[in-house]
Subunit: 216 residues, 2 copies
């Protein structure tokens, strides 16, 4: 059955692979599953046809026969459940990998996104400069905890898993800041993720979309 | 095998059931699974023994034989996977329920928590009153999308599922505000969740902990 995902026709990150379709592309590349991409202009996100697929009007969505999914975490988990290689084979190991998937999206990503969203939406406000250190302190707290857990390990919990796809893509949001500097093992962890051939194929695919996009 | 979860010895919400152990208690009550609770004072959250269970120093954790989990979403999903009644039986329905679990925690909860955290941490700051409408606009956007999806339905996607446990507990964070007033079907949805006998047993159990807690 053909898999079709949605992505931005013209990604606001100019091809840096920060949009959430990157996670899905990476997971599909890891398991060797081909996929089609339906590109959407921003105005299409609020159209009834898209809201029927994604009630919150975002990308990515995932369609495969009768199944339609949204939420990048759920889509990556679905791919990991249907194919070997992205979750441990033992039940306890799988449950732990799922815990790390939720940790990436529910414990680490929100503090990072809060700073990112403030950068877009509140940079012109009088309080922005004063609030920035507060937001960055929260990020450092989480990064410190994550760094302490990771230690010298290659991946979050044993072998590479779907949780690493989510955590690496979450941490990459900080690449353009200096926040990762004091957590060297996290920088090396991101680099390990990006060095995987599946990551590189996924990155190149989304970059090709940006390069082909109508000038914005 | 005995299930042991962790919870606050003295919950900061004074027994209103807002701490994340409530989600786990509710799920376990829905499937009729008994459990033990290990109560932790706040200072224990940063001790090595607890950080080994929960790398981010939070509650709840979940222990069952050799398995140790953290992240309330992952714990609820683990319970739902191991027992009948909290996920549809067909594979596509299960994948959709998981999508709604991630939506509750990754799309709806962060905007609600940002406002809640600002209330705790920034209420004394000069910008608090100016930022409040910005934060509330983001919440209304998400609530409006959720309300449009729910319509007249009882639950998020067909029968009651683990996703409703997460979404109801997320939305309950707004009960003490007026933000839900303009989304009447969401208020009714929360009320349906709270009317379930399993919810009530879980609520009473966490309230009993608060009432028995040493005066703080």
């Amino acid at each position: 059955m053909t898999i079709t995902i949605t992505a931005f026709e013209s990604s606001p990150d100019r091809g840096r692979g920060m949009a959430r379709d990157m996670r899905i592309r990476w997971a599909l590349e890891e398991v060797g599953q081909p996929y089609d991409v339906r590109l959407l202009p921003f105005e299409a996100l609020r159209e009834p046809a898209h809201l029927a697929l994604h009630p919150f009007g975002q990308i990515p969505t995932y369609e495969e026969g009768d199944l339609a999914l949204f939420e990048s975490g759920a889509i990556v988990l679905h791919i990991a459940c249907c194919h070997a290689g992205l979750l441990p084979v033992d039940a306890n190991g799988r449950a732990r990998a799922v815990a790390w998937m939720f940790a990436a999206l529910n414990t680490v990503e929100p503090v990072i996104l809060e700073r990112e969203a403030a950068g877009y939406l509140e940079r012109g406000e009088s309080w922005y400069a004063q609030r920035l250190p507060l937001m960055e302190r929260r990020i450092h707290q989480r990064l410190g905890e994550l760094s302490a857990h990771l230690g010298d390990a290659e991946w979050l919990d044993g072998a590479f898993s779907a949780a690493d796809i989510l955590m690496v893509t979450v941490l990459r949001r900080l690449e353009s800041s200096t926040l990762l500097v004091s957590h060297a093992n996290l920088g090396a962890y991101i680099a390990r993720g990006k060095a995987r051939p599946a990551y590189q194929r996924a990155f190149d695919a989304q970059l090709a979309v940006f390069k082909a996009a109508p000038a914005g």
